[in-house]
Symmetry: C2
Subunit: 367 residues, 2 copies
């Protein structure tokens, strides 16, 4: 809980800074838009928790029809289970005895599913599940081009799928894939061409495995930047879209993601050292930097330098009246890593009045 | 508290990842070295809390002779006061009614000192202190070249110093300055030349103010990268060095800071997708990126790509045996922002055995 909690209906000026703001009406419109887009499609939504790490948002997504939640880490799955979510995909490898023991503890409480890309890891998961008397759902991760985790499409994936299917305690469910390398490709037509090409690798692998007699219930992948492309590919079952719910400046910049900015960081001008310069209290510890500078939500001001605890704004004509003490909003370039810096979101209503604090239960759950 | 807490004397293999490791013997040697370096000098140490945000470390620094602690934010000062620290410099402007009210609450509990660079802010602090029946110590921030907050050296600083000195409830104590723009200048000789030049601006401003009849008790500034230069300048009273205690890869790279790496991030190899590639479970959410890639603490491996939850290692000959499940250590490029991502440090003894968890009380205290 922050040192200063605003009263209900307080305006922005009564929120202490830095603060993560969440406009609930925009969030709800984003969730409804994505749900509506796939309502009559065969594909299902399993939104990614890593993007906002907030249980309130996950519950709104489930209420809008999502079949479950995707997350990146065991610790996030723990937060989801503590919050009552039961159908969870941890879209990564769970490696090593400590983590596998934690996974088994979670499996007792919820129907957690994990990704694998290595036969030794499969053997370890199988041994642990068998010893615990549990059955664990497993997706084989296929690398369709990102060059991170995953086996190659085709035969290597089939081989590992057979290994999983033949392992006691494990239930082969299908494929995990993510065309993360394409999410920000511009122009959109190029992104489209490459995503269709890479998704075919996943779909062909699916067919190969099915032809070998192994049922494939789930091929899961796809991000906000490719949902209008990969989400329509036949043979893709689940979308792991995350950023769409709150949106960020990077996805707005690259296009193909028509959602509203529901998330921002409230900053205070703490100094006006020169005519064209303002210093705000939001720097590297309070907003993401890896995708570039945040957008400033007032005319005539640009965020032009990150410091650890400060940001430098360069001011044009329209912003010369900015004073020390003024509050301004910054749209983070990357929402996922920004949310990971905050314990709570300050939720705003349609009139930009403070409603309540939402905890960010997954913050820092990197283990 | 992490989901898995190692037993006392557990080896690294029994620590879950990502984990922030702190080698206590190296930390203590670093603290002793810095304290010893200025033991017989007129300059005093007021180490910066922003670098590690850990009360255990602050207490070791105070035990080694530091006169107090510097911090960046009110929230950090709250954490320090809760931990029993009484002499605290918040080396930034405290702007706006919410923060000034919080500052007065803190002033009731400890002798907090703040920086100012604006007459309106001085008037607001004076009004609040007077209304609360308190006296607040104030430093005038002078910008000696960083181009962030602060008034210009010379007359502008004198003018503001007079304003502070004439304001009821405020006690003019001296100057805050920080040559942050020079901390990583290479070669060291160039850093030295420029730091001596910029520090003279602070010292000359001090003389100007003293000549005008205002006593200057404290000129505070200086970082780890310039402590061997600026720390020896006559007229500089307090050093705000922070990173030296735990050290990071950036300060090692630029030289001039002969301290040991006491801080690292423990990672697990989660995938070996190709011969020369390993994927670890430490990405942008678990280690700083703004000063470049972390150093890998094994031969033949380089961290070559950040992902949100993963890192890509490129492996040479010497590291080809690395397997999924292996644990490796990464030295963060920037310690300050890395510590801000963790709730606890895993403290190790001289044999790299786990000793205990130290909370990072200042984590996320950006307000």
């Amino acid at each position: 809980v922050p040192a200063h909690v605003p009263s209900p209906t307080a305006p922005l000026s009564e929120i202490d800074t830095p603060a993560l703001l969440l406009r609930r009406p925009a969030l709800e419109r984003n969730i409804a838009k994505m749900a509506g887009r796939f309502h009559d499609a065969p594909v299902r939504l399993r939104p990614h928790f890593k993007s906002n790490k907030c249980l309130h948002i996950a519950r709104l997504q489930l209420a809008a029809g999502a079949v479950g939640i995707t997350c990146a880490k065991l610790g996030e799955a723990e937060a989801l289970i503590d919050g009552g979510v039961t159908d969870i995909l941890i879209a990564n490898q769970i490696v090593g005895p400590i983590k596998i023991a934690r996974l088994m503890d979670l499996r007792r409480r919820a129907d957690v599913m994990v990704a694998v890309d290595d036969a030794d890891n499969v053997a370890q998961l199988s041994a642990a599940a068998t010893a615990a008397g549990l059955e664990l759902r497993v997706l084989v991760e296929v690398d369709v081009g990102m060059g991170r985790c995953g086996v190659r499409p085709g035969e290597p994936a089939l081989t590992l799928a057979r290994t999983v299917a033949g392992s006691p305690g494990l239930h082969f469910m299908g494929l995990q894939t993510y065309e993360g390398h394409l999410q920000e490709v511009t122009p959109y037509e190029e992104r489209r061409r490459r995503a269709l090409e890479d998704m075919q690798k996943a779909v062909q692998t699916r067919r190969l495995i099915e032809d070998a007699g192994l049922p494939v219930a789930i091929v899961s992948g796809v991000g906000t930047g490719t949902h209008t492309i990969s989400g329509l590919v036949e043979g893709i079952d689940e979308l792991q879209v995350g950023s769409y719910a709150t949106m960020d400046a990077e996805y707005a910049r690259v296009g193909g993601a028509d959602f509203e900015h529901a998330l921002s960081v409230l900053a205070t001008v703490v100094s006006r050292p020169a005519a064209g310069v303002a210093i705000v209290d939001v720097g590297l510890k309070s907003i993401a930097a890896e995708f570039g500078f945040p957008l400033v939500r007032i005319d005539g001001a640009e965020y032009t330098e990150f410091h650890e605890e400060h940001g430098t704004l360069t001011l044009g004509e329209a912003a010369q009246d900015l004073c020390a003490g003024d509050k301004i909003e910054l749209i983070p370039s990357h929402g996922c890593t920004t949310c990971n810096l905050y314990d709570v979101m300050h939720v705003l209503d349609a009139d930009d009045r403070f409603v309540e604090l939402w905890p960010i239960e997954g913050r820092g759950r990197a283990q």
